[in-house]
């Protein structure tokens, strides 16, 4: 019995131990803790700053100096990009928790820089970069220039400074060539360097006090006394077609609606209802030795003479031609008071001062090169020079008429259009063309001034005049120019 009791006790003890050790065996699942984010770190700086940062070819929206944070351990490809600079790529090994600081000095990287090739005519001009002297003179190539925008300026004594904005990019060369303007020979006045009201000029005249009067395409006319500009408006039209000084007191300006006479203080207007003009579209004005005015209009030529202060308006009648009604493009009075008129596409008409008869000349009955006469000028010894507009067949020379002698010359550039002829006090001829200014004493040896050899934009030339010092004034569609090399 005791034996069985012991067995039972042992069983109970075993069960007890089993229950005690197993009854608390609970299954409790726990979500694993969040892993901390990676903490790799790259700080990127560069000289110059402002490079866009690409991480593994993906634009990060950050520019240097800036940092890339929370990176995993690994190798990253970093690319830095900036406008005008070559792209720069490199690899970085990032270790979690470690900070990496990188500085890329592009300023001392020759492969990143570009160059500026500087040259000028004449040479030896000092080179300025962003208004700082480089200590170099032309011709010279500036190497190791960091990409960017630069202001290049050349300075040479007796020449006008010239400059240009250039853009330099990595591994490229930018050329800057300047034809420097000789300021001992030329002076120019444009809206960029003076108070001139407009650059679009149509004519120029100098009075006996050396005041320069300039007509414009849309701003009336204005005067320049060497320092100050004064603008004159009239109620006829601010489009000035032509001008002339009448040797007496008046400056005459032709407009599409009549003409204006200015005597230095009073400005008189002659137009509709205030004149005897038969046509108001004035193309040219000439003055004879007695200060009578010859008004060339789109509807004929008129003479205005003023005995005893009374104005008479004379319309020419001529049975053999049409001087009274034709479109007159140019007019001049020669040394003998013969009146010359260029008729649109019809040659020239000449009024003999002695007989008052009109004679008509065209290519069919004379040595005129073309009927497309554009300019006429009379010289001090009686000769008359005629220039031509563009013509497919001719139109690239001049015709000189002296009495009964007719001669053709070709001092102007081929296929150029003559826009103005002026004969100065030294009997030097100045011919304005659409390809520059031609000067000659003898037509066999002309001198051409154009943009290519002066640096001046004088191709759109409209008028020529001389002051008492012998300076030549030139009106163009890009400003007023003064040539001082005629002394």
């Amino acid at each position: 019995m005791i034996k069985y009791l012991n067995v039972l006790i042992n069983i109970f003890i075993a069960l007890t131990v089993l229950v005690v050790f197993n009854s608390c065996n609970k299954d409790v699942s726990v979500t694993p803790p969040d892993e901390p984010p990676p903490n790799g770190y790259i700080f990127l700086n560069s000289n110059p700053e402002g490079f866009q940062i690409y991480l593994n070819n993906i634009l990060q929206g950050r520019i240097t100096p800036d940092s890339l944070t929370w990176l995993n351990t690994g190798t990253y490809n970093i690319t830095l990009k900036k406008n005008l600079f070559s792209d720069s790529s490199f690899s970085v090994n990032v270790i979690n928790g470690k900070r990496i600081s990188l500085f890329i000095d592009f300023a001392n990287d020759a492969s990143m820089s570009g160059s500026i090739s500087c040259s000028s005519t004449p040479s030896n001009a000092e080179i300025f970069l962003n208004d700082s002297s480089t200590g170099k003179v032309t011709p010279f190539t500036l190497h190791n220039v960091l990409p960017g925008n630069y202001y290049v300026r050349y300075h040479l004594t007796n020449y006008q400074d010239d400059s240009e904005f250039v853009t330099v990019s990595s591994s490229s060369s930018t050329s800057v060539y300047k034809l420097l303007i000789n300021t001992t020979l030329w002076q120019y006045y444009t809206m960029s360097n003076s108070a001139i009201p407009t650059n679009n000029l149509t004519c120029v005249t100098v009075d006996k006090n050396n005041i320069v009067y300039v007509g414009s395409a849309a701003n009336g006319f204005f005067s320049f006394d060497g320092k100050n500009w004064k603008t004159y408006y009239n109620s006829l039209s601010n489009q000035i077609n032509c001008s002339i000084f009448d040797n007496n007191t008046n400056l005459l300006f032709g407009t599409p609606k009549g003409f204006v006479a200015y005597n230095g203080s009073i400005l008189k207007q002659y137009g509709f209802m205030t004149s005897g003009l038969i046509n108001y579209q004035i193309q040219s004005i000439a003055v004879d030795n007695e200060s009578n005015w010859y008004i060339a209009t789109q509807g004929g030529l008129m003479e205005v003479y003023q005995p005893y202060g009374v104005m008479y308006w004379l319309s020419f009648s001529d049975t053999s031609g049409n001087i009274a009604t034709s479109y007159i493009v140019a007019a001049a009075v020669d040394h003998n008071d013969n009146v010359w008129a260029g008729i649109l596409n019809s040659g020239v008409a000449v009024k003999n001062a002695s007989t008052a008869d009109w004679y008509y000349y065209a290519t069919s009955n004379s040595m005129l090169q073309s009927n497309n006469v554009s300019a006429i000028a009379a010289g001090p010894t009686g000769e008359v020079w005629i220039g031509y507009g563009l013509d497919n067949k001719y139109g690239h020379g001049l015709t000189c008429i002296n009495g009964s002698s007719w001669n053709n010359y070709y001092p102007t550039p081929p296929n150029s259009k003559t826009t103005a002829i002026f004969i100065d006090s030294k009997n030097i001829k100045w011919v304005g063309t659409d390809q520059g200014l031609v000067m000659f004493s003898s037509p066999a040896s002309p001198t051409l001034f154009n943009n290519a050899n002066t640096g001046l934009n004088i191709n759109g030339l409209s008028g020529i005049a001389e002051d008492s010092y012998g300076n030549i004034w030139i009106s163009t569609d890009s400003g007023l120019y003064e040539y001082k090399g005629n002394h």
Binding site: T16, C24, T69
Partner: protein, 318 residues
Amino acid sequence: MKIFLQIIIIFISLLLLSCEAPLNVDAPFRQRYVLNGIMMSDSSVQYVAITGTYRPANDINPISDTSDKSIIGAYVNIWYMDTVHTLRDSSLVIDTSGHIDTVHFYYARNLKPNPGQNLQIQALLPNGLLLQSNTTLPDVSSGNFFDPSSDLVVPPINGNSYIYILWQSLGFVYQPRILIEYYRIGSNQVQYHQVPLLYSNQNGNSTPDYPGPTWNNSLRIDLSTIISALNEIAIDEQGKSNFNIAEIDIQLLVYDQNLSTYYSSLQNSVNDFTVIINPPDYSNIQGGYGIFGSFSRTDYLIKFDEKYLDSLGYNHQL
């Protein structure tokens, strides 16, 4: 025998006491982050909000905690075509039911995504956590998105007492808005009046029911509804002559796949009074929760017949 009895008592006592261990069924709180942003094809400014989950102070009512849960200082980029737009942060103070809330958000200017284009977003939180997602705007740019059989004139020339508009089925959710464009005489400023799908009668009052998001790729509007909406523009019959009625503009917002799926997940609710025990928590944010979606807007214009407007007493746009 006495010993045996004692052993049994000890055993039972151990059995009852040995499992007494406190066990907290609440898991420890772990903060999660939520990014929400909807890219709009008809806007050049896009907005993104980032918030964090929170445990309310009293552990009972989460709505009672009105503190701002926005995550400030995140670095948020949106990649669109070949450009990355880094979003700037700002905040808005709003008055909701008497108490002032400050809402922080991120925004990008000069970002007007085109239909059919993909945008990727990446938000790097101040603690280094990264939230990422992307969306593709539905392509509604094709010239014949609206079916040619759709009505072009009110009233329709086929004599129907309704107008019917049908568009391409892209398999997305559509949100239409029906607007009457009109001008007050003497003003060049266009004004809009929204047209409901129908007017329902509730306790004798006419209540407009405006169209909501739908999977249907068609829209039907009764003429009587349009007339009722027109009558709301002018106060009285005499006032109608003060208005020029231009046209009806059907503005259609086409949700992208993400927004459409999200909208579907919300449709399991029976009604507003039902609390779902295990609500769907659709998210397309990698590394967190939320929705980064988009919609494309396209418009369909329907002209008014001039005589029809005249008969209603309105002027027509010249």
